[in-house]
Amino acid sequence: MIQPGKKIPMFAIVTLLSVLSAYIAQAQPPHSHMTFVDPDSVFVFKYSSLAPQPGPPENLAAADSPNDAGGAISISWSKAPGDNTIFNSVDGYLLYRSASLDDGFSFLTRLPAGSTGYSDSDPDLKNGENFYYQVAALYGRDTLYAETAGPAVPGAQLFHTKRILVLLFMALFSGTALYLINLAKRGGTLYVRPIPGIDAVDDAIGRATEMGRPILFVPGLGEASRVATIAAFTILARVAKKVAEYQTRIIVPNYDPVVMTICQEVVKEAYSSAGRPDDYDPKDVYFVTQDQFPYTASVNGTMLREKPATNFYMGMFYAESLVLAETGFVSGSVQIAGTDQLIQIPFFVAACDYTLMGEELYAASAYLSQEPQQLGTLKAQDWGKIMAITLMLIGSIVYLFDSGAGEALKNWVIGG
């Protein structure tokens, strides 16, 4: 979005990452982490003289399940002797629980052979109370009990330890954004690359004025709580202000009543700030329906009746995106779309004159306003991208040299 003086060779980075990904994927033999056992090609020594002596599972441990709201205990053990694909001696495991060592253990569940753990989240587990566990291995009719484990005390945690990287990234990103906002406030110059779709906004409104036709703004099918819809509000505010200045008409059909209420306020305020509060007509910002295709039919009808000079599609769109955009094309409107819905982007690209893809939708409000504070957050997005690219490069390089370390790094990053 913002280039610090020199053009970043993005194409080179994307190509490098693509080549690295392809090499890593092809360097791995298919299903290299899996072991296939053909039952017809191996001998099965069940209860044979070679099988190890039956014994109870060992290393039984019970502890509070981490990173939860309590009410759960994780139990683990080592497999009993002969519990493998060669001997298949063990038929399964029986798990028991008790609130006291003095009381008897009650049966909890039966688990298949090969199991080495269980997460007990029974509603009977109360935070702060003691619980004891016992596990037994089943060898035919014989049941061999392990030592008792416990007491384990379920409890709630105040911090999710597997989300520490997300927290760090969030703190770093927020800190960078705050620093850049302050820098922009002090008068620092921030370059923003031109975004054709946003540059076309003024021309599109001018065209509508010259033709004497209205402008149609469709804020999508998202609820007001969706960030893409909030981004659509900010674009609507700028567009409505221009529309008021040019004394053109803007029509905003809404899918969600909450969105409609906010759009009415936004357009009304835009007309006021343009010094033309009397030109605002609340009937031009209206609710249609909360059904996807009836809404689409209504907006299509508006396009064909009113023949708007320009159509804006900003926010969240689903299957109706192409139906709307193609109808707009047929009615001869200039069309500017912006969405973060990946599947709908190609449809808008095919049918609209300009498309704001993904982050460009969020950048639009900063770009239109040119306010330093807004541009500061835009610059922070670029730094976020640099961090993401750095992480990807590190991950790819580690994976190339040691796939085990690469997997460990991946699990740490995704909190696995």
């Binding site: 709201a69 709630a156 989300r163 927290l167 509000f233 009543p257 409609m260 690209v349 991208k385």
Partner: protein
């Protein structure tokens, strides 16, 4: 005060919602769930505002005899008819043999399906325009589309069966989808994620205030 109070509420709620993701404790989950419930409750109340807007708009069209006003009459009539039908008995909206559900299954659903089916024709017309090889990029798009489309159907492999395994058209299609396509999708996802984070931050800090009904 008209602006400060909402900004303070947004800051507190926004900061809490961001931090609750890191707190698995039950208190955090309960407050989060209550906040979501409040959103639903407020949404239901605003439906009345929406219906008010709809009635107002169409009443205006009918009373002023605006262009194609009979359609507005149908809209108001249908709204009243379905509301009366739905409120006629407690079982009306659940009984599949009742008139309300019959109207839903035999009128609304087919109409919606008809609208949805138009998409097939719109895809064809949009694809025709998008695939015109006017520039180098458009030609690349056309070539990729032909490979992917042929690679996803049996005739594609039948046409290239003579080629060594791994170089047939379905393999090329898989390569295009798995590597360049996935790379581009992930790039957009990362951009969207950062855009969402930046926009959320702007709203929580009060830098972005257009949702309040004003730019400043």
């Amino acid at each position: 005060m008209r602006r400060e109070v909402p900004l303070v509420i947004v800051f507190i709620c926004g900061a809490f919602m961001a931090l609750q993701y890191f707190v698995p404790h039950n208190i955090s989950a309960v407050i989060y769930q209550n906040a979501l419930n409040w959103t639903i409750i407020i949404g239901i109340f605003t439906l009345a505002v929406g219906i008010g807007s709809l009635v107002n708009l169409h009443y205006d069209k009918i009373s002023r005899r605006k262009e194609k006003w009979p359609y507005s009459l149908v809209t108001i009539g249908a709204l009243v008819f379905m509301t009366v039908l739905g409120l006629s008995s407690p079982e009306a909206v659940q009984d599949p043999r009742g008139l309300f559900m019959k109207m839903y299954f035999y009128v609304l659903s087919p109409v919606q399906a008809t609208m949805f089916s138009l998409l097939a024709f719109f895809i064809a017309s949009a694809a025709y325009r998008a695939f015109r090889a006017k520039t180098v990029l458009a030609t690349l798009l056309l070539a990729s589309a032909v490979i992917v489309m042929l690679g996803r159907i049996p005739v594609g492999d039948a046409l290239t069966a003579w080629m060594p395994e791994g170089t047939r058209i379905s393999d090329l299609a898989r390569y295009i989808l798995d590597y360049p396509n996935t790379a581009a999708k992930r790039a957009i996802y990362i951009g969207v994620g950062l855009g969402v984070a930046a926009t959320s931050l702007k709203i929580i800090l009060g830098v972005e205030r257009t949702w309040l009904g004003g730019g400043k």
